[in-house]
């Protein structure tokens, strides 16, 4: 059994982001990247499946990133993934084309299960898993908070706005991980060093035979002013007066 885990490289959300000079992206200077936390949850789930239900499972991490993206694949390897594949690509992409690249890899690798984060914490698009299922014609179970293996496939608990929805699907399938699926393990330096001995396979969109045709183009970005002004008012009528003053209420 093969489990494929797409891993996205995202800017560290705790760090301060600056726009680039053209205001069509983030200034890459002094920017640090991490493995998308939802993808880390997906990696963890794949490892747990290997540790419990399917000891024969092979866990493959895949990333589409510039050459430096290797570092984040190392994190997945340090956590315990068996192999990693880097699709080297420097230019912007969009979810549809990411799905196409992944579909090409999937055609080659033939995994039984694709486990990925429900969304990436940079653009929060929440589309790649769904597009990928559509392109492959596979069943999908998004926002998973629990995955169980049953005779003919898997049973997945989905976190929806209305509550937990339990669905059953055959395999192969696409499952996207929600926050409560698990708590990822901590990869310490020795395991990162050990992971350095594992090789990372390299490929490119061209080698995969995919010509990227962007459907989404980023036109511009702007920073929101998050400076807040706080003031303590004594009474409710004072509050109302203030709100009228600032034209929050009429």
């Amino acid at each position: 059994m093969k489990i494929l885990v797409p891993c996205k490289r995202v800017p560290d959300p705790d760090q301060k982001l600056r726009l680039n000079a053209e205001t069509v992206g983030i200034d890459p200077a002094a920017l640090t990247y991490i493995l998308n936390p939802f993808d880390a949850i997906a990696v963890e789930e794949a490892l747990r499946i290997r540790e419990t239900a399917h000891p024969d499972a092979e866990v493959i991490a895949v990333s589409i990133a510039p050459a430096e993206g290797e570092a984040d694949l190392r994190t997945a390897l340090a956590m315990g993934a068996d192999r990693a594949l880097l699709i080297e690509h420097n230019d912007p992409t969009d979810p549809w084309n990411v799905a196409r690249l992944l579909a090409a890899v999937i055609e080659h690798e033939q995994p039984t299960l694709v486990l990925m984060g429900k969304q990436a914490v940079d653009d929060d698009a929440n589309q790649t898993g769904q597009f990928l299922a559509a392109q492959l014609g596979w069943p999908q179970a998004t926002f998973a908070s629990q995955i169980e293996f049953i005779d003919d496939g898997i049973r997945v608990h989905r976190e929806t706005d209305l509550g937990i929805e339990v669905i059953r699907t055959t395999l192969p399938a696409i499952v996207t991980a929600d926050l409560r699926l698990n708590e990822p393990r901590y990869a310490s330096l020795p395991s990162i060093l050990r992971a350095k001995k594992k090789s990372i396979e390299q490929t490119t969109p061209a080698k995969l035979g995919v010509q990227l045709e962007l459907r989404v183009r980023l036109i511009g970005m702007e920073l929101i002013n998050s400076q807040r002004h706080c003031e303590k008012v004594e009474t409710a009528s004072n509050l109302l007066a203030k709100l009228r003053e600032t034209e929050v209420v009429g």
């Binding site: 560290d12 705790d14 760090q15 301060k16 640090t32 991490i34 956590m79 315990g80 708590e183 990822p184 393990r185 901590y186 990869a187 310490s188 330096l189 020795p190 395991s191 060093l193 050990r194």
Partner: protein, 658 residues
């Protein structure tokens, strides 16, 4: 008149008896030696200890802690007293027996008759008899006391059936010894029998009960053999029962204990070679660690002080050591991690060092824990909030993962000098992550900086160049994250020619003092309370004035117990300080050490809730602290119980009066 004073050794015993006696002695010593060797073999499963034995210190340690029984100070006064009299009684009787054998063999070697002793006579004999009769009573008294204690004990006292045998043997040996002495006095008509005052008393009773010249020989003979057989059995059983602690203790105390708060570094080369970190299997402990498991007599003094145990967490340092000991003996379960010792037990420890400090025989429960934690970290067993904090330390150099550029936010509007704009500073103020990013602790840094400015100290801060010391990473078990952070900081210190560091964080202080020198970072590191104390002494600042309301002070573990700094903060506080029952070096942990700071327990379930109650019970309206972790824990804990009480750093209280 004292010339005739003596007694015949092996009196009333024929050659056959002597032969049987020596045969039994040989068997008994053989079993004893075999029993000890069995344990030694278990200890030798560990890694060789590279630390050479420092004979002078070993000798002092054994003299002070074992012979003088000084290690028992500070807790359980009654049991300690009983142990002392039992031990000293036993020791003196043991020495007495050796003196008798020296007399016997040297007299025999010189061809003297049994009735013509070499030195076991006269004044020496008087002193000998009085001393031994006295110490015999002490031994019996101690044993009886312990037996009574064991009868009344609740389930918290670890108990084995063999413990009764140990106490019974000691009492029987003592009492029959006096009986035999009494019978000997009747038999030999020893002059001045009063010097053997207990035996003499018994001789009177025996005479009254009808013992006389006609029957004394056979009764003496029978009782003498009973006494001897019990003694041989006792010697043979020693390495197999609880008293084995006395044997292991000699070895344990002979190894020089590390100062509290110091950890053994691991090298990356070692890990690359073995592929393993920390202790995953028993054999990865050192031989010293393993022999110390046998020194544990399961007294439970550590458990009495353990803050995790007090808070109902799944950790008792005593049980941990005993479980490891059983595991070493090969008792089930055969798997160390997960079965013998659970991960939750290991994570529960705050490394407050109370157990390491109290153990009379030098066992270091918390050190086993940190060694075992290293393995868990290496295996990726840490999850959730603390794992996230370590990840953030790894990528951003602070447990919150926040930008290094924000490290001076606390100093907004204060004009605090940095190493960049004041390169000729005398002292570096180490701010630490908590004061750099936590809004509450920022106020502490502001207070310290303002006090330093008012006293016109030539100081500087590192600002964006500062990184987490790695203290909590190291104690949670992530040795290499710590080493990486330490290397970065040491490089920064070198770059700015840092020699003297003042910090308001005892964890940073201990790390800079005890961890960094292991990686060639040698600095003079002092706590802000010490530095502010110097400034007060030099009349550059004033201590906090007496307040109308009661103030109590909570000693941080890493400041007081680990680094012995208890006076400095008190000199800065008002005189009307109301002390908590556990204070100074005997402080109780707030619950945040050893990386526990990064675990997201709800305030009411945290280790240290007992400490909050203790602080509030003083009736204090202000709880003074001198550690950012204690500040957080105390503030959160107090808030769940009494919102009228304020928690303040010592420097904040001082700022009000300067």
């Amino acid at each position: 008149m004292t010339e005739d004073l003596s007694r015949e050794i092996f009196g009333n015993l024929g050659e056959t008896s002597k032969t049987i006696f020596y045969a039994l002695a040989a068997v008994s010593s053989g079993v004893f030696a075999w029993g000890v060797w069995r344990r030694v073999k278990l200890w030798r499963r560990g890694r060789p200890d590279n630390e050479p034995i420092k004979w002078r210190e070993a000798f002092q340690n054994i003299r002070n802690r074992a012979l003088a029984q000084r290690a028992l100070r500070g807790a359980r006064p009654k049991a300690s007293f009983a142990h002392r009299i039992l031990f000293w009684g036993f020791l003196v009787l043991f020495i007495g027996t050796i003196l008798v054998s020296i007399e016997h063999y040297s007299a025999a070697a010189l061809g003297r008759e049994a009735t013509d002793p070499l030195f076991h006579k006269g004044v020496y004999f008087v002193i000998y008899e009085i001393t031994l009769d006295t110490f015999g009573l002490l031994m019996i008294g101690g044993a009886v006391w312990f037996a009574r204690r064991r009868m009344r004990a609740d389930s918290s006292m670890e108990h084995r059936t063999a413990d009764w045998l140990v106490l019974a043997s000691l009492i029987i040996l003592g009492v029959t010894g006096y009986f035999i002495e009494g019978l000997r006095i009747i038999r030999e008509s020893t002059p001045m029998p009063g010097i053997s005052f207990v035996g003499y008393g018994f001789s009177k009773i025996f005479v009254a009960a009808g013992v006389g010249k006609s029957n004394v020989d056979s009764i003496h003979f029978g009782l003498w053999w009973f006494h001897s057989v019990v003694a041989f059995g006792f010697i043979a059983a020693l390495p197999f029962c609880r008293l084995a602690h006395a044997i292991a203790a000699v070895f344990s105390l002979a190894t020089t204990p590390k100062p509290l708060g110091q950890m053994e570094p691991i090298s990356m080369e070692e890990v690359e070679e073995t592929g393993e970190v920390g202790v995953g299997r028993l054999e990865q402990f050192t031989q010293r660690d393993l022999l110390q498991l046998d020194a544990c007599v399961s007294c439970g003094r550590c458990e009495d002080l353990c803050p995790a145990y007090e808070a109902g967490k799944p950790l008792s340092p005593r049980d941990l050591v005993q479980d490891l000991r059983m595991h070493m003996e090969g008792a089930a379960p055969a798997v160390l991690h997960g079965e013998t010792i659970g991960a939750e037990t290991l994570w529960a420890c705050t490394t407050c060092n109370a157990c390491n400090d109290i153990c009379p025989l030098g066992v270091r429960p918390a050190d086993y824990i940190t060694d075992l934690r290293r393995h868990l970290i290496g295996e990726g067993e840490l999850r959730g909030a603390p794992a996230t904090s370590l990840q953030k330390m790894q990528r951003a150099g602070n447990p919150w993962g926040l930008p290094a550029q924000d490290r001076l936010k606390w100093a907004d509007g204060l004009d605090v000098p940095t190493v960049a704009n004041n390169p000729d500073f005398d002292v570096l103020y180490w701010v630490g992550c908590s004061a750099a990013y936590d809004r509450r602790t920022m106020k502490v840094a502001r207070a310290v900086a303002q006090l330093l400015q008012r006293a016109q100290v030539n100081f500087a801060v590192l600002g964006p160049e500062e990184r987490c010391t790695g203290e909590s990473a190291r104690r949670i078990g992530d040795e290499f994250l710590f080493q990486e952070l330490a290397a970065t900081n040491i490089e920064t210190f070198t770059k700015h020619n840092v020699r003297k560091i003042v910090t308001h964080c005892p964890h940073c202080l201990n790390s800079l003092r005890q961890d960094y020198p292991q990686f060639d970072g040698h600095y003079e590191v002092i706590h802000h309370t010490q530095f502010l104390g110097e400034l007060v002494a030099a009349n550059k600042l004033k201590a906090a004035a007496v307040m109308n309301e009661t103030v109590t002070y909570h000693d941080p573990c890493y400041l007081a117990r680990v680094n012995g700094i208890t006076d400095a903060p008190r000199t800065l506080l008002p005189d009307n300080l109301k002390e908590m029952p556990r204070s100074g070096c005997q402080t109780a942990c707030c619950g945040a050490g050893g990386g526990r700071m990064w675990f997201d327990d709800p305030a009411e379930e945290r280790t240290g809730t007992g400490r909050i109650t203790e602080a509030l019970d003083t009736g204090a309206k202000t709880v003074a602290v001198s550690c950012p972790f204690c500040l957080t824990m105390m503030t959160d804990g107090v808030a769940t119980k009494n919102d009228q009480v304020k928690v303040r750093d010592v420097s904040e209280l001082m700022l009000e009066d300067n």
